[in-house]
């Protein structure tokens, strides 16, 4: 029961952080408008006081295109890299304004649709796509950027464009046509399927995924506790990326948003959980096996 509350509050905290980030993007240019220049920058790179924090994908692009290292830039990427090492792609699920907007839009969309039209049966994947597709697209983008010598990642970074355009609109440079890129990305989701961009292409998310190891926060699946009788599994049904949390190859696609874990606590019996340790799952199994045996004996 306690754990159920934990994941629910986790999801609520996530929503609060998402909205706070969106609000933050408005507050920074407003402060600059009033000559307060304590925080400057946008989601490409931000300076708080004297501390620089830079998007690792931008650093990577910078190194690739310039073919040299600029030490202050490397140092500024340390904080996001550490976060990526510990928690995976949580920038996507906790901060990215593009993800926030889409998530809220999808929620409203599904609520309205549920009232008027019978709920469409979602196409449910049986297994997760191969990680090679993900890394293949990422490699292709990096090579393309290298060949044409244009900072491609900055143009394809939806959070960066949204944040810089919000700032431009408030400070008074005027909102440019850069937002067409964001609309093009939105259109690609309509054509290629739900969350196509976030799931496969986005170089920002992919650069965070680069730092994922076996020890990073991940979703573990405990078979013994899984007893959902519903045919459409609630966990994979709740996933915005249409992934199957039970199966392998969940990473690098998963952003650790925790919606499946929350749903599992609510409908199922908590077979899915977050953990840092890779072996926790098997240990749990052993303990439970022993318990079952003990019961049988007694």
């Amino acid at each position: 029961m306690r754990e159920f509350n934990f994941y629910k509050t986790l999801n609520r905290t996530r929503k609060v952080v998402q909205l706070a980030t969106l609000l933050f993007l408005f507050i920074v240019p407003i402060l600059i408008f009033f000559e307060v220049r304590f925080i400057i920058g946008n989601l490409y790179s931000i300076t708080v006081g004297g501390l620089d924090i830079t998007d690792p994908s931008m650093v990577l692009q910078n190194i690739l295109l310039a073919r040299s290292f600029y030490v202050p830039l490397l140092i500024s990427a340390i904080i996001p890299v550490i976060i990526a090492f510990l928690f995976g792609r949580i920038f996507c699920s906790w901060a990215c304004p593009y993800n926030t907007i889409l998530e809220e839009a999808e929620r409203i969309y599904s609520k309205i649709l549920a009232k008027f039209i019978m709920k469409r049966k979602a196409k449910q994947a049986n297994k997760n796509p191969n990680p090679f597709i993900y890394w293949g697209i990422y490699l292709f983008l990096t090579l393309l950027a290298l060949i044409i010598g244009i900072p491609l990642f900055t143009f394809l970074s939806a959070p960066g464009i949204i944040s810089s355009q919000i700032a431009a609109g408030i400070i008074g440079n005027g909102i440019g046509l850069e937002l067409t890129i964001v609309f093009a990305i939105l259109l690609s989701e309509v054509i290629f399927g739900r969350r196509f961009w976030c799931k496969y292409v986005c170089p920002v998310g992919a650069s965070f995924s680069l730092f994922g190891t076996k020890k990073t926060l991940h979703i573990t699946y405990n078979e013994l506790q899984c007893n959902c009788t519903i045919k459409l599994e609630p966990c994979s049904n709740s996933c915005p990326f249409n992934l199957v949390p039970k199966n392998s190859n969940l990473y690098p696609y998963c952003t650790n948003c925790g919606l499946c874990v929350k749903t599992c606590e609510k409908i199922g019996k908590g077979a899915l959980s977050f953990s840092f340790d890779n072996n926790k799952n098997s240990q749990l199994n052993i303990i439970q096996d022993q318990e079952i045996q003990n019961k049988k004996v007694s």
Partner: protein, 174 residues
């Protein structure tokens, strides 16, 4: 062929004149476009709003910082080079004398002293006072191309129509 060459030269000149300046300490254009991550920090720290971000009409340059000296020139406060996270604005350029954004050029056809009217606007506003712009015979302004930093203040304050003194960018942005 000669006509074609002249035409090309003309186009180049027009581009050169219209080309906005890069902020102080900017690298060469080829490196600049590759390294700039469009974080807007230089534009946001600028107290005079001199630095603006290029819009989508600048193609691959969109979102990069530019200065249109005829609108708001650079007042060489040197705050932007300190905040650049990528080093495209060279942090070693910390004094106004080290800046080289462009070179001012005086058109003797438009410049008022050359036409017989006394005017010292550019001479008096130049941040490298008496060195970058000096007066010949206490009357005619001249530019010292070695000392000129290309801030564009002269272009802004020029009282001639369409500005008799124009800063040519050392980085030609197309």
């Amino acid at each position: 062929m000669n006509v074609f060459k002249k035409l090309l030269q003309g186009i180049k000149e027009v581009i050169n004149y219209k080309s906005p300046l890069r902020p102080p300490g900017a690298l060469k254009e080829k490196d600049f476009i590759k390294r700039c991550i469009k974080c807007n920090k230089c534009a946001q720290i600028c107290p005079y709003d001199s630095i603006v971000m290029a819009d989508i009409s600048w193609g691959k340059n969109m979102g990069t910082p530019v200065i249109f000296p005829r609108e708001v020139p650079c007042y060489v406060c040197m705050k932007c080079t300190a905040v650049c996270p990528t080093g495209v604005l060279d942090t070693n350029v910390d004094a106004k004398e080290k800046v080289k954004m462009g070179i001012a050029e005086i058109s003797t056809e438009k410049c008022l002293p050359y036409l017989g009217v006394i005017c010292r606007a550019c001479f008096e506003h130049c941040p490298i006072f008496r060195e970058a712009i000096y007066l010949e015979d206490e009357m005619y302004p001249k530019v010292n191309t070695d000392k000129c930093i290309g801030c564009g203040i002269c272009e802004k304050v020029c009282s001639a129509e369409d500005s008799a003194i124009i800063v040519k960018s050392t980085n030609i942005i197309i």
